[in-house]
């Protein structure tokens, strides 16, 4: 199986461990990721909060590169995914805008490639059962709260995500890896990452509440599928909260017993080492 891969800016800096783990895990599973040639920023929140045309043109440039390369796109960052997926939706459903975008970028959209979040690419396209079949080191004893955040599920008419109020694909994956996904009700609450730099006090309250609910649900760790969520949950918390936050790719990496995982966990701001040692999963 082959995808074009759009890492996005965060995976080159604040979320390096997500990039490393995503690439190792895909290699381990036999999935080929072709990095989008000369990809550019999707514009993120700042573009759609200030200039909506910019918020369509920036992702469209990347969609056109993927179309040229000829493979469906896998996107690890939920914010990038949202921008790419929304623009793809506009290109498919709004003829007037499609013409405007095509004309601005000098390219014809043919709709031949699909946009997937990396979580969907792995669990739905490649298949959770196929991942489970390769597990060498089941994550026995790990109780995890699967945190989906906003933009992977909403707006549902664009993402087409199953069960947007109580999504289950990450829970299914975590269970298939041998851990226990705890039921909880904050799965799709917002991490407030777009307020982090500007209103740090607000972000701390929002993040502490999410982490508090995860602990109350009996989880020893939170699992995310977004660099902005993961960074907010580590960086914006009150300093006395110690629950670690993993990328879902890191958990797959442990279960596949990939030795490269040592290089991922040292990058965390909240050390997952003690928990992994307790469960004999440190490797």
């Amino acid at each position: 199986m082959k995808f074009t891969y759009y890492p996005g800016c965060s995976l080159e800096s604040s979320a390096k461990e997500y990039n490393l783990s995503a690439q190792s895990v895909c290699r381990g599973l036999g999935i080929e990721l072709l990095e989008l040639e000369d990809w550019s920023c999707c514009g993120a929140t700042s573009a759609h909060n200030t200039n909506r045309l910019l918020a369509e043109l920036l992702p469209a440039r990347n969609l056109f590169i993927a179309q040229r390369m000829g493979y469906d796109i896998a996107v690890p960052c939920s914010a990038c995914y949202s921008r790419l997926k929304k623009t793809d939706y506009v290109l498919r459903n709004n003829e007037e805008k499609r013409r405007e975008i095509e004309q601005a970028l000098g390219f014809k959209f043919d709709g031949s490639v699909q946009v997937y979040h990396l979580l969907e690419a792995l669990t739905v396209k490649f298949g959770t059962a196929n991942i489970a079949a390769q597990v060498k080191k089941p994550l026995a004893g790990l109780k995890a709260a699967c945190y989906y955040g906003c933009l992977i599920v909403r707006p549902p008419e664009v993402t087409g995500f199953a069960r947007p109020e109580n999504p289950m694909i990450m829970d299914g994956l975590v269970n298939a890896l041998g851990a226990e996904a705890r039921p909880w009700s904050y799965k799709t609450d917002c991490c407030s990452s777009n307020q982090g730099l500007v209103n740090a006090g607000i972000a701390r309250r929002v993040v502490d509440r999410i982490l508090g609910m995860a602990a109350e649900a009996g989880a020893d760790a939170v699992v995310t599928a977004c660099p902005l969520c993961q960074t907010a949950l580590e960086m914006r918390r009150s300093p006395d909260i110690t629950i670690p936050v993993f990328y879902f790719t890191e958990l797959i990496g442990i279960a596949l017993d990939l030795p490269a995982r040592k290089d991922w966990f040292v990058k965390h701001l909240v050390d997952p080492g003690p928990l992994l040692q307790n469960l004999s999963l440190a490797g």
Partner: protein
């Protein structure tokens, strides 16, 4: 009957409501104040107006209060409101439209540093094709005057190699610059 209740189409609305409706592509007039949006809105405890109140102010043509509100800049863009609205109003899209209008009309922002952050972010994209997170944050700090927050966690990220000084620009920077010119109408 209130002005809002009488309207069933955008054309029956006041000028401001019509403009917001047309620019956002959303049926502002359909909001009947069920408050489902407000119930799940994560900025609820911090904002001056809940999303349903913003909608009501728009219906009543209270442009100034809307465009200078804190709410339009505090909004997390989480899309919870629109996903739950029984009238399929995509409120996040309305919020984007309102911020764009506030900037175009140079209304002083209810949260002073929010547009400064967006500007720092987009300048970085415009110059390099990708965001240079380290430079972008330094730039934001200088422009906002908020120099001393996050220093401890910033240092930790730097030590972990998460705020690299060197990072790649893209090859076709000109293509991205062109996109910026096009979008700003220049």
């Amino acid at each position: 009957m209130s002005a809002a209740a009488e309207c069933t189409t955008l054309s029956g609305l006041n000028g401001f409501a019509r403009e917001v409706g047309e620019k956002s592509g959303q049926s502002i007039q359909l909001c009947y104040q069920c408050q489902k949006c407000a119930a799940g809105c994560p900025m609820g405890e911090f904002t001056d107006y809940y999303p349903n109140q913003i909608l009501r102010l728009i219906q009543f043509g209270r442009k100034e209060e809307v465009l200078k509100s804190k709410g339009i800049w505090l909004c997390f863009s989480c899309e919870t409101c629109g996903a739950r609205c029984p009238n399929d109003i995509n409120i996040a899209e309305v919020m984007d439209t309102l911020r764009e209008m506030a900037l175009a009309e140079k209304v002083p922002p209810g949260i002073k540093n929010a547009p400064i952050f967006h500007q720092a972010f987009l300048n970085s994209v415009k110059n390099r094709g990708r965001v240079h997170e380290t430079l972008m944050m330094m730039n934001y700090k200088l422009k906002s005057g908020d120099l001393f927050s996050d220093l401890d966690v910033g240092l930790k990220m730097f030590q972990k190699g998460k705020l690299p000084i060197l990072s790649r620009s893209i090859k076709n920077k000109g293509e991205v610059k062109k996109i910026f010119h096009r979008a700003s109408g220049k």
